[in-house]
C-alpha cells in the first residue's frame, strides 16, 4: 500500500463515566476528596491500543456491536476528540458525516446551513457558492432548501448532510451509518456517489451495520470488539466471522 492517509499508533481512548462537576461547583467542592477519587478511577476504556492504517485511496469499513466504539474511532480521525494515549496522523482534508444534523444549526435554512457547514469544514465562501447548485440538486429537497432545517424529517436531514459532504471534494470521507434513514432511491444515489469517490482516489472510512453495503464499497474491514480490533481483512474474510 502507498503512503497512509490515516495512521493510528497504539491509540487508546477512555471516558470518565461520572462527571461530578456537572453537578455544579458546590457539590464538587463539598465532596472534593470523593469527587477527585471518582474522577480518577471511573474511567471507561472504549478503545485500547488500536493500531491500523488506511492507505490513500483505500476504503475501510468498520463494523461492530452497538457501543463498540465505532463512532468514537471516527471522532478521533476527524480530530473532534483527542486520544487518551497513542498517536494519530491524518493527511488530507476531511469531510465527515457523523450524525444526523451534525454540523448544522436547526434555526438556519438548508441553504444557509450548506454555506456554514462548508466553511466550517474548511472551504472558503466562494468555493461553497460555486458548488451550491450541485449540492442542492443532489439533495433533491426542492423548495424545502429555503426552510429552516428544524422542520426537516430525518431522511431529509440525511439528504442534506450527505449532499454537502459528498460534493465538497474531500480527500478523506468519513461516514457514520446515516444512510439507513434515507429512502431506497436516495440510498442508491449515495452508494453510486461513494463508488465514484472510490474511483476518483479519495480515502473513505465507512461505519455501517449493512454488510451488503460494506461488501460493495470497502477494500478492507475492521471488526471492533471488546475495545480493540478483533479481525482485519477483506470483507469476504471478516464478515462471515462477524455474522
Amino acid at each position: 500500500m502507498n503512503e497512509p492517509a490515516i495512521l493510528f499508533d497504539r491509540v487508546s481512548k477512555s471516558y470518565h463515566l461520572y462527571h461530578p462537576m456537572t453537578g455544579g461547583i458546590k457539590s464538587f467542592l463539598f465532596h472534593l476528596p470523593e469527587a477527585v477519587k471518582i474522577l480518577k478511577n471511573s474511567r471507561y476504556e472504549v478503545l485500547k491500543e488500536v493500531t491500523f492504517q488506511v492507505g490513500k485511496g483505500e476504503s475501510l469499513g468498520i463494523i461492530g456491536r452497538n457501543g463498540a466504539g465505532k463512532s468514537t474511532l471516527l471522532g478521533l480521525i476527524a480530530g473532534i476528540i483527542k486520544p487518551t494515549q497513542g498517536k494519530i496522523a491524518v493527511q488530507g482534508r476531511i469531510s465527515s458525516l457523523l450524525e444526523l444534523g451534525g454540523g448544522f444549526h436547526p434555526e438556519l435554512t438548508g441553504r444557509e446551513n450548506i454555506v456554514m457547514n462548508g466553511v466550517l469544514l474548511g472551504l472558503t465562501k466562494n468555493e461553497v457558492f460555486q458548488k451550491m447548485d450541485e449540492i442542492i440538486e443532489f439533495s433533491d429537497l426542492g423548495d424545502f432548501i429555503d426552510q429552516p432545517i428544524k422542520i426537516y424529517s430525518s431522511g431529509m436531514l440525511a439528504r442534506l448532510g450527505f449532499s454537502v459532504v459528498a460534493n465538497l471534494d474531500p480527500e478523506i470521507l468519513l461516514i457514520d451509518e446515516i444512510l439507513a434513514v434515507g429512502d431506497m432511491e436516495f440510498q442508491k444515489k449515495c452508494l453510486k456517489k461513494m463508488m465514484d469517490f472510490k474511483k476518483s482516489g479519495a480515502t473513505m472510512v465507512f461505519v455501517s451495520h449493512s454488510m451488503e453495503n460494506i461488501k460493495l464499497l470497502c477494500d478492507r474491514v475492521i471488526w471492533i470488539d471488546r475495545h480493540t480490533i478483533k479481525i482485519v481483512g477483506s470483507p469476504e474474510e471478516v464478515i462471515p466471522h462477524y455474522v
Partner: protein, 255 residues
Amino acid sequence: MNSKIQYYIDLIAVLTQKEMKVRYKSTFFGYLWSVAYPLAFALVFFIAFKVIMRIQIENYALFLIAGLFPWQWFVNSVNTSPTVFLGNVSIIKKIDFPRNSLLIATVLQDAIHFILSIPVIVLFLFLHDQSPSISWLYGIPILMGIQFLLIYSLSLMISSINLFFRDLERLTLLLTTFLFYFTPIIYPESMIPDGYKILFSITPLSPLMVSWRHLFLEGTLNPIFLIVSFGYSVLFFIIGSLIYRKLSWKFAEVL
C-alpha cells in the same frame, strides 16, 4: 497563508451572520431591540435618579446614554457567553474547527449593534445643542478595540469553564449586575466618596466606561485610562487564552 486568512475571515463572517439570524429569529423589531434596551434603562434611571432623587448632574439623560450604550455591548456579550458553546453543540460535536471563532462571532455581533446605536447618541447630542467631536474618528476605534479584546477574553474564560461548571451562567449574571453599580455609569467618577475611590481602581471596566463617556460628551481621551483599560484587556486575554487552551480539546466530550 493568504488562503488561511481568507478562511478565518469567511469563518467569522458566516458565524456572525448565523448569530444575527438566530438571535433575532421571529422577532418583529429585530436589532432595534439593541437600541430600545439601553434607552429603556436610561429612562428608568432618569426617573429614579433625576426626577425622584434629584441628582445634581446637568443633561443627565445624555450622560446616561453615553455610558449605557457601551455598557450594553459589554453586558450582552458577557452574559450570553456561557451559552455560546452550549448553543452550538451540533457543530462542535461534529466538526473540528477553531472553537473560539464562535465567541469572536458573538462579540462581533454585539459590536455591530453598538455601532448601529451610535447615531442615537448623536441624536441626543443634537437635542442638547451639542455635536460629535472630530476626535471620535480615532477615539471610537481605539476604545472599541480595547473593549473587544476585553469582552472576548472574558467570554473565552467564562464559556470554557461553564462547560465544566454550569453554575457560571448564574454567577456571571450576578457579577455583571454588581459590576454595573460599582462602575461609574449612572453616576460620575467624581461623586465617589474619598474612602471608596479604590472601588474605581479595582473594577476593571471603570476606566473604559468613563473613557467612553468623556469621548462622547467632551471629545477627550485620557491616556492613563486608556493604558489601564488596555492593561486589563491584555491581562484577561492571557488568562482567557490559557484556560481555553487547557480545556478546549475536551469540549466535544462534555457537551
